[in-house]
Point group: C2
Chain length 192, copies 2
């Protein structure tokens, strides 16, 4: 089995988006195993106040993300509806069939961090589903399914037990790297 880097993400995380786009531009997508977590839940478990809820940290994060995007030539828009509740889409990611997961992942992430959509709104979720050729009815049933609800909770709890406290987090060879700034360190560890 080919060794991969676990990439813990939530669609709400701008740094996860930037890291993902850098991975794609490095042609390294197949080296990562994308793992859904609910970032808000993870922060609660860890007793962490997200930077979005601190005036100065929020201002810095906005400027910092735009600068990283500029330096890396990533098509990025700061979403004025940040932060929102990403619960439905994160559950959706777990529910969706394997063959549509990558497409759904890209469309959701672009919708929020490139196209400036409020992805907590039903009408925008519907647009995402249409673009991915996913039946709205199936999706709505899926994200209300107890199995899916529990799966997202469990994945978040397991991540927390393994010392994950933010997104993006990369884990390879039992070593944890936090933040899009550590993408290269994680790749170095994989290639070691």
């Amino acid at each position: 089995m080919i060794k991969k880097i676990d990439f813990y993400f939530d669609f709400i995380s701008p740094y996860s988006y930037l890291a993902h786009k850098r991975i794609v531009s490095l042609n390294n997508r197949d080296k990562f195993n994308y793992k859904a977590i609910l970032l808000g839940g993870l922060h609660n478990l860890g007793g962490i106040t997200a930077p979005a809820f601190n005036e100065r940290k929020m201002k810095n994060m906005r400027n910092d993300c735009m600068l990283i995007a500029e330096k890396n030539k990533i098509d990025f828009t700061w979403n004025e509806k940040f932060p929102i509740n990403s619960l439905y889409l994160m559950r959706g990611y777990l529910f969706i069939n394997h063959n549509k997961k990558d497409k759904f992942f890209d469309v959701c992430f672009d919708a929020y961090w490139k196209n400036n959509f409020d992805i907590s709104k039903e009408e925008n979720i519907k647009k995402i589903l249409i673009e991915c050729d996913i039946e709205t009815e199936d999706f709505e049933m899926g994200i209300k399914d107890k199995k899916i609800k529990d799966e997202l909770k469990d994945l978040t709890n397991i991540a927390f037990q393994n010392d994950v406290f933010g997104a993006p987090t990369f884990v390879i060879n039992q070593k944890l790297f936090w933040g899009q700034d550590r993408l290269e360190y994680a790749l170095d560890e994989l290639n070691n």
Copy 2:
């Protein structure tokens, strides 16, 4: 007047140490204007819980700093007495004559992050003073001087009013860059 990058630091900050050592190895020390702040006070003003006080963040910070040091060939030891109270040495930095400031800065930083000394202890502060050829008595009077006490408070308050919330922070052309990971961005901004 030559334009410089303001570098907000506290001896307690491992990332400030790593940033400084990278600056020195880039031969760029003269491009920076080192500005003392009391990081604990700044965090209090900003309603920020320092990573040192969160189990997972602390563990990550330790590993992360050691890895940055390794990648950048910086002689670094994680100080097991972290965090401590850096108040006396930060006041000392303000008190000390201009011609001894750089020496004092280097000796304090190395004492804590290279030589693993508890720099809140009187005996270790004395060793630092001897190495810098500073009279202990002068130093002790200086750090109790109301003018010096107020100066450190004022500098921290002014930094906070200018959106600084952590260390290291680099400011150039009214643009703020937070973290040793942003050293290159700050230098780009200076050279623009």
